[in-house]
Amino acid sequence: MRILKPFEYFEPVTVSDAVGLLATYGDKSRILAGGIDLIPRMRRREISADYLISIQKIPGLDYIQEQENAGLKFGALARLYALENFKGIKKNYPGLHAAIHQISSIQTKHMGTAVGNLCVATPASDVATALLTLGAELTVSGVSRERKIPIGQFFLENNRTSLHGDEMVTGVNLPHPPNGMRTAFLNLFRTHSDIAKVSVAVAVVFEDGLCKEARIAIGAAAPTVFRAVNAEKALAGRKLNSKMIDEAAKIAAEETRPITDMRSTAEYRKSMSELLVRKALERTLESPKV
């Protein structure tokens, strides 16, 4: 197939209109933000959308705002390129910055939105993996209500989120990183533009030389991105030395449920999860504050 199937096209100018359309047309409808994932999949007939609801004309969704020591938020139309180049993100959320930076196509980053990336809900999303460690919270609008979904509750399975049929994500809030938090992001891939074989993001909050809290997120090693909570528990309150790190990495690998596909084997993904978690935790011992 070389062309898209016909569809009804809408350009609502308010969020309320957009979700109203979602409610009307249900699962035959899709939101169009950047389109960088949606359009190719529609062309390949992997997604069928009889009703396409563009949010590109809704004003006020492309914000990226920092609040003085109160975190950062960005809207549904904040492009990956803008996020990558936003000083506050490089400074305060270097793990997220690293995850976006290593997306190799500049065109993709100009067109693609972080929210769109999250809504695809692929377990291989580097951006999702990084955000999962940052306490991100998605603001969601539906026909009759607004709500917030912590990112840990957003991904249900491959390509499925916890959004209801009439809901769209309007933005993401990131709390200000706790004092003493250090982050790292690592992944492995075939070529630079390929989806990761496995990706790991960690955020460790240090206090008095101990690991107060560890957040370990793994991508492409389970049906969704996930937090290795057992590994995190093993580290909480402990001193982060190489023995602890090794142990945590092993536990984290046990929490993965990887598959064999064209990019890698289950065995390799499990093994590399352990390696990358170890290396990422080691990085937090070296990296500058935050």
Binding site: M1, H192, L275
Partner: protein
């Protein structure tokens, strides 16, 4: 040769670069015609199935549908899209086992029908309305399974799915004796992979019958004259009633020397009575055009303890896939390269081609030679290690020398191989890096090499005839007629440089007319590195004829005999009295507008059939880093030292070599044509899943050229196109072994495979 050259040897802009840089260059998909219909193919969703019944009626009735064709609508003539049956001197090497539309589904993606409609949407809808009744058969995707007794039979004639077994006909000596004489012998087996050319332009074609029934076909093809003859045979149309136009191609890489969408496009144009354009999607191109040949290749090398070879033997299982295509042609090249690279008194080789229900293997850049060296050059390294000898030194001991028969039996013309090896070794720091102490850390560094001989065309096995014409315009400029297409190799520019040099014109004085069977004479096609060497020679001959006519005419004007004249800078000058001269423009104008009735058609034509085959040669050195924690392989340095004879245009030669090196890296490390082992479906069916290297995935591609003119080449040039890839996989594999002691049986050499091998090695 110390002649002063003013055009040859210069880094002049590629011919048509301006058109390509401005978007003006039209590729087949860009061409529009009035009433052009959209052609789409219907492919089988099953890997192996009998087609019981096809009901076209609903599709035919859809408004806007102008033709729906299935097997019953096409000529029932078996053919092989590699169309080498009419050019190879040994035609029995080509098995014709396919129809334009398949009568049975033999792989997921096999073409079983086609439609032509007024637009894409209607064509797609029509495809959906064609009702096909299949009798699904069990399928096999693995050669071993396919050869087992009782395996599903894919082609009726091929018992156990074996289409052909061949002993290499050019074998010599006695390998049994040879192995007995050996002090050491080493064996290895490797599985090469189905790299896809993945050229940027997806397959396309336009076919149009005019009101008198004359057929015009626009098709990007490396051998479009042969395509014309094949279409003539398939459709019972005399060649003279078929015009094939092949101008700009978005990549060829050898794959486009096969017939592509032409037969189906012509069939649709015939049935509909309207012009039809077929454009494959990227997915259709990846499963519907053929990959590099996939082998399980095993070999044995015997040598004395001083490193001299006593015996070489090789056995290839060719994984043809669903149809035969080039299974024997590439295997013969592989066997010839394996046995022909070094001096060896006893050689033997054999091949067996096996059908399975997967998309076919064909031939791509290298055409079986990189595969041959992948096995041979690793055997050499393994042997050198066993003997305790530097592998480079072992190679030197066995190189072919001047006058020795080379890969295709014809003699070597220049002895540059050793020079290339030594130069490369020095540049990369071979001695120092080979004896480098092994590091303790997780990153292991290693250096490996491979050497190669390549060809300048398919002679003496294949028709390689060239025909060139040159006419002179009123102003003294020239039209150069070359019957080839342009896939970016700038053979057209190089030809213009050669013509200009001989005729004393400037590069910009040459206008090229090309790629059209109506305007150009027969050309055998651009593949197997034939272009620069063969067409260059033909151009030289034709230009020499033109020069002769001009000099004769000018001699009259200048009052001397022609042998006293020189031609350069668009002027003819008396050698001993250069102020006495006349411009080529004056001469040509006078030949055309001559009131004394002394009209002369200044026209040169030449035919060329190569009697020699000078061997491009060189060596590749790879410096790699293996991460023993991840299995990841990083090529830190890749150096190619190459002899292409005289460089007609150095930028062109460098560009060809660099591109081939990149292709080689993709082949060795990244590109995985991933077929689902249960369903036979190609899952890596677009660029997001079939990964080509980007700017970030390649090391610096270093090219060092050793320019030694070869006696039979035009100004001493050899062929170029494929050479850059020949030694890449072997050099990288040898470097990996040096770094961390493992050889990987399967390609691509992925981190998964390396890590697994490292773990098993420890155990």
């Amino acid at each position: 040769m110390t002649q002063e050259l003013s055009v040859v040897g210069k880094r002049l802009p590629y011919w048509a670069a301006q058109d390509k840089a401005t978007g003006a260059a039209k590729y087949t998909a860009d061409i529009k015609l009035p009433n052009l219909l959209v052609g789409r193919v219907l492919t089988s969703p099953h890997a192996h199935a009998v087609i019981k019944k096809i009901d076209k009626s609903a599709a035919e009735k859809l408004p806007g549908v102008e033709a729906v064709i299935t097997w019953e609508d096409i000529p029932h003539k078996l053919f092989n899209p590699n169309i080498q049956d009419i050019t190879l001197h040994m035609p029995q090497a080509v098995i014709k086992d396919a129809y334009i539309i398949s009568e049975k589904a033999r792989f997921v993606g096999d073409v079983i029908g086609a439609v032509a409609a007024v637009d894409e949407a209607t064509a797609e809808q029509a495809l959906g309305l064609i009702k096909v009744e299949y009798d699904i058969l069990p399928a096999v995707f693995d050669m071993a399974e396919a050869m087992k007794p009782g395996a599903p039979l894919i082609h009726d004639f091929a018992k156990n799915n074996i289409s052909m077994h061949m002993n290499f006909p050019v074998a010599w000596g006695n390998v049994q004796d040879g192995f007995q004489q050996a002090d050491v012998s080493v064996e290895a087996a490797f599985q090469t992979s189905k790299q896809h050319t993945a050229q940027l332009e997806p397959l396309s074609c336009i076919a149009q019958f005019d009101a008198s029934g004359r057929l015009t076909v626009w098709s990007p093809n490396q051998r479009f004259f042969i395509v014309r003859s094949k279409l003539a045979e398939l459709f019972d149309i005399p060649e003279g009633r078929i015009r094939v136009i092949s101008h700009h191609m978005g990549g060829g890489f050898g794959k486009m020397a096969d017939m592509g969408a032409e037969p189906i496009c012509v069939a649709l144009a015939k049935k509909s009575g309207k012009p039809v354009k077929v454009q494959y999607s990227r997915e259709e191109d990846l499963f519907g055009t053929w990959t590099r040949e996939a082998y399980i290749e095993s070999g044995k090398l015997g040598a004395r303890k001083d490193g001299t070879l006593t015996a070489l033997s090789m056995s290839i299982l060719v994984h043809s896939g669903a149809y035969f295509n080039r299974s024997s042609a590439t295997a013969i090249v592989t066997m010839g390269s394996f046995t022909g690279l070094y001096r060896c008194p006893n050689v033997a080789a054999e091949m067996t081609a096996v059908y399975t229900n997967i998309p076919c293997s064909g031939g791509s850049r290298g055409y079986g030679v990189p595969e041959a060296y992948y096995l041979l050059e690793q055997l050499v390294d393994m042997t050198a290690e066993k003997i305790g000898m530097d592998p480079m030194a072992m190679r030197m001991k066995n190189l072919k020398q001047l006058g020795d028969p080379g890969l295709v039996g014809l003699p070597l013309e220049t002895p540059t191989q050793e020079k290339c090896i030594r130069l490369g070794a020095e540049k990369i720091g071979w001695q120092e890096k080979r004896s480098r102490k092994k590091e303790d850390g997780n990153i292991r560094r290693g250096i490996g090499m491979a050497t190669y001989l390549d060809v300048s065309g398919g002679q003496p096995f294949d028709i390689q005839d060239r025909n060139i014409e040159i006419k002179i315009n009123e102003d003294g400029s020239a039209n150069l007629y070359i019957g080839i297409s342009d896939m970016g190799q700038n053979l057209l520019g190089a030809s213009a440089q050669i013509a200009a040099e001989v005729m004393g014109l400037r590069y910009e004085d040459i206008h090229i007319v090309y790629g059209d069977t109506d305007y150009c004479s027969f050309d055998a096609g651009t593949y197997a590195n034939s272009g620069c060497y063969q067409i260059g020679n033909a151009v030289m001959k034709a230009a020499a004829e033109v020069k002769k006519l001009i000099l004769e005419r000018a001699a009259g004007k200048l009052g001397v005999t022609p042998d006293k004249l020189d031609i350069r800078d668009r002027r003819i000058l008396v050698r001993d009295n250069p102020s006495k001269s006349v411009s080529i423009g004056e001469i040509s104008k006078d030949c055309i507008y001559n009131h004394a009735g002394q009209h002369l058609n200044i026209f040169g034509k030449a035919s060329f059939s190569p009697a020699q085959n000078p061997y491009p040669t060189g060596a590749v050195f790879a410096d790699v880093e293996v991460n023993t924690e991840t299995g990841g392989v990083k090529v830190a340095r890749l150096l190619l030292v190459h002899d292409a004879g005289r460089l007609i245009n150095p930028a062109t030669v460098e560009g060809q070599l660099q591109g081939a090196m990149a292709l080689g890296i993709g082949y060795t490390l990244f590109e995985d044509y991933y077929i689902n082992p249960r369903t036979g479906v190609l899952e890596s069916n677009n660029y997001n899943t079939y990964k080509l290297p980007s700017t970030l995935d390649l090391p610096e591609l270093e090219v060092e050229l050793v320019e030694e003119p070869t006696p039979s080449g035009p100004f001493g040039a050899k062929g170029v196109g494929m050479s850059g890839i020949m030694g890449i996989p072997a050099a990288i594999a040898n470097a990996i072994y040096h770094a961390c002691g493992v050889r990987i049986r399967e390609m691509p050499i992925t981190p998964e495979r390396v890590l697994k091998a490292l773990k098993e090695k420890v155990v």
